[in-house]
Amino acid sequence: MEQKKLAIIATKGSLDWAYPPFILASTAAALGYETQIFFTFYGLQLLKKKLSLEVTPLGNPGMPMPMGMDKWFPVLGMTLPGMQGMMTSMMKKKMQSKGVASVEELRELCQEAEVKLIACQMTVDLFDMETSEFIDGVDYAGAAAFFEFAGESDICLYI
């Protein structure tokens, strides 16, 4: 049986949205899929050596808030300085207490399982990013390179 292929485009750079690409890629690799993730725009934040990903309740009415905070702090309260940092640290604590892996750990597991991580060269140029900010083992390429793999993939996800 030919090896199945999974192609993922990761476009978001927040703590919550960092999970789907890395969870799905690492699991697919464990199931024997050949897997690539193409990181573009804000998704490039997920490739930084030092991750500083945050989560924001702003514009996200579906986010469950601890201690009924959504009742006591309406939307405007969420714009206060420090609120995003507080929500981020609460989310990280919650994840740790539930045995959810850190983004760093999942990313390492992806690399161990030979998931190919590709950074969008155009975005790197656009945002004047330095490749030295990114982890080792990342390839830099464009849309055509993505399609070379995605065109033969069994599953293709845009996240």
Partner: protein, 76 residues
């Protein structure tokens, strides 16, 4: 529970860590050897079933005992 060659305690770990740890442990085992996985994630019941079907490793046993889930996986 039947005999096994290796044990992996994935208690307290959430998706997808039990599967990833199991896969890593199986990689270091020989064909025909049996891995016993202990997990507390209720999602792992369906996940180990799906893992076995997709990787060709045989899920010999899957049961709950005292709030923990036990899986016996025979490496193909």
């Amino acid at each position: 529970m039947a005999d096994f060659d290796q044990e992996l305690d994935a208690s307290g770990l959430n998706c997808p860590l039990p599967i990833l740890r199991a896969k890593k442990t199986l990689n270091a085992m020989a064909g025909g050897q049996i891995l016993h996985v202990i997990a507390t994630d209720p999602g792992s019941v369906k996940d180990f079933d799906a893992f076995a079907k997709q990787t060709g490793n045989e899920l010999m046993e899957s049961k709950e005992d005292g709030g923990k889930f036990h899986f016996l996986i025979k490496k193909s």
